[in-house]
């Protein structure tokens, strides 16, 4: 079974029974089994299996190029897959009924540069059938209410990223897939976004947040450590630290890589 480390730790969290996660189903929002993705002739994900618990903030950590974005695209249903299964809320990823329930924020802000912040959000709100007042609410949530009337092309990179994030929040999605949402943001803002993520999770949403910065790990309830298209380990930050005896997640990551046979 791909994705389960061979280092024998009792804290390798997922046990598989006939390809299904034992007893976790109701508590699982995203379930990935033997996912294989080939992009441009390169095997990006050779057979990835993992699961994301409901109502949590799960961090997807790993160096850039390890397949985080590809995995996220597969979860959202915009990635062509070569094999395996991805289930979101018990349904096949990308199913039409999921499109209103899964919010997705790409790594590069995917918004219209020639429209104002508000115009962008109003367009997406109409597509998502979100009530009128939501635009103002999400603008406040991401701290952009003061630039609502400004054209997106005049915003800073960090502000654009937040417009992109706000667009995904409009319809209160049950699952939020965020690809490096806090890159390049100042620490104060980063902290307030992580607080927002936790507020959303405590309201019942499931968040999968990717980052290549290991120090964001401490802010997550659960972690998925990825490298070269494979899952190195999963568990809560404390569990991973305890298991590897490392002082921080970066150290844990290194220990896990070494336990697997070192750097390739």
């Amino acid at each position: 079974m791909v994705g389960v480390g061979g280092s024998g730790g009792g804290l390798m969290l997922t046990t598989y029974l006939g390809g299904r996660v034992s007893g976790m189903h109701e508590a699982t929002a995203i379930e990935v089994r033997e996912l294989r993705v080939v992009r441009g002739g390169n095997v990006v994900l050779p057979g990835l299996s993992l699961s994301v618990p409901r109502g949590s903030v799960t961090g997807l950590l790993g160096p850039s190029g390890c397949g985080k974005s590809t995995l996220m695209r597969a979860i959202v249903g915009v990635q062509r897959v070569a094999g395996g299964r991805v289930e979101v809320l018990g349904r096949t990823a990308g199913e039409p009924s999921l499109r209103g329930q899964v919010g997705y924020v790409t790594q590069a802000p995917s918004i219209y540069g020639d429209l104002t912040v508000r115009e962008n959000l109003e367009y997406f709100a109409r597509l998502l059938d979100a009530p009128g007042g939501r635009v103002d609410e999400v603008l406040r949530d991401v701290g952009l209410d003061e630039v609502a009337g400004r054209e997106v092309s005049r915003l800073s990179g960090g502000q654009r990223a937040r417009v992109s994030l706000a667009s995904a929040l409009l319809n209160h999605p049950d699952v939020l897939v965020l690809d490096e949402p806090t890159v390049g943001l100042d620490p104060v803002l980063r902290r307030s976004l992580w607080e927002l993520f936790h507020r959303l999770a405590s309201a019942g949403a499931t968040l999968l947040v990717s980052s290549h910065v290991m120090d964001e790990a401490a802010r997550c309830d659960e972690l998925l450590l990825m490298r070269d298209g494979e899952l190195l380990a999963s568990g809560s930050p404390d569990e991973l630290l305890a298991r590897t005896g490392a002082g921080d997640i970066e150290g844990a990551f290194l220990a896990l890589v070494e336990a697997r046979g070192g750097a390739s």
Partner: protein, 245 residues
């Protein structure tokens, strides 16, 4: 209901984006007028202006909307907004129809301005009513939008999208009867032209200009242009992939 909402929201969004780019809008509206004026000058001594004037009024929107759409759609792909939309509850067809409506409206304005200038200032004559010319122009614009959407699926950059114009439209312009009567072409080319939508767009406009009655031939031309526009929107929707590599 959801479908109509997605279509209208998209049309409105595209028009808002255009409004933010007044230079492009101005060029779309003014350049055809300048070209018609230029044509009038070029053909001053030959009477050919009368022959090609009306068809050209209807063909300009096809070319300009093709270009605008191909580039806009390519931009939508490269900016990631298309991927976002594909993860949202909007049907592909609604997205394309939204584009069609927005650019169709723009084409109506474009064709109206060009026609007013041509008919009133440049003394271009048409037996059929001027509104029929404008209507054809709008139909052609929707066709151009649909073809632009379709080819944008095969372009990997805005640069490539623009290159599809000479590849996709110029042969149709050459073969449609505007340059030379189709009957005088080699048989093989004439047969090819039978299958190109622009042939019918040209023929319909020619009939409006020289006949002006609703003949069976004109109805056929209108029908072919309409079917071609609908078919290319459908093709565009089919080439738009929710899942990409």
């Amino acid at each position: 209901m959801r479908a109509v909402r997605g279509t209208l929201a998209t049309a409105e969004r595209v028009l808002r984006q255009l409004r933010r780019d007044p230079r492009t809008v101005a060029m779309l509206l003014v350049v055809p007028v300048l070209l018609v004026v230029l044509m009038k000058g070029v053909f001053a001594g030959s009477g050919a202006f009368q022959r090609v004037g009306v068809p050209l009024l209807g063909i300009f929107p096809l070319i300009s909307m093709f270009l605008v759409t191909a580039v806009t759609m390519q931009r939508e792909r490269s900016s990631g907004t298309l991927e976002r939309l594909m993860s949202m509850p909007i049907a592909k067809l609604d997205l394309l129809l939204g584009y069609g409506i927005a650019f169709g409206l723009l084409a109506a304005v474009q064709a109206t301005i060009t026609s007013v200038v041509a008919f009133s200032l440049l003394s271009l004559h048409s037996d059929g009513p001027a509104w029929a010319v404008v209507l054809f122009a709008v139909g052609n614009a929707v066709l151009g939008t649909a073809l632009g959407l379709f080819v944008s699926a095969f372009a990997r950059s805005e640069f490539q999208a623009v290159q599809f114009m000479p590849l996709f439209l110029m042969p149709q312009v050459f073969l449609c009867g505007l340059m030379a009567p189709r009957a005088s072409m080699p048989r093989a080319l004439e047969v090819v032209s039978d299958y190109l939508p622009l042939t019918y767009a040209y023929d319909g406009l020619r009939l409006v200009a020289t006949d002006g009655t609703w003949s069976g031939e004109l109805l056929r031309d209108v029908a072919v242009v309409t079917v071609a526009a609908v078919a290319s929107v459908a093709l565009g929707a089919a080439t738009l992939q929710r899942r990409t590599g």
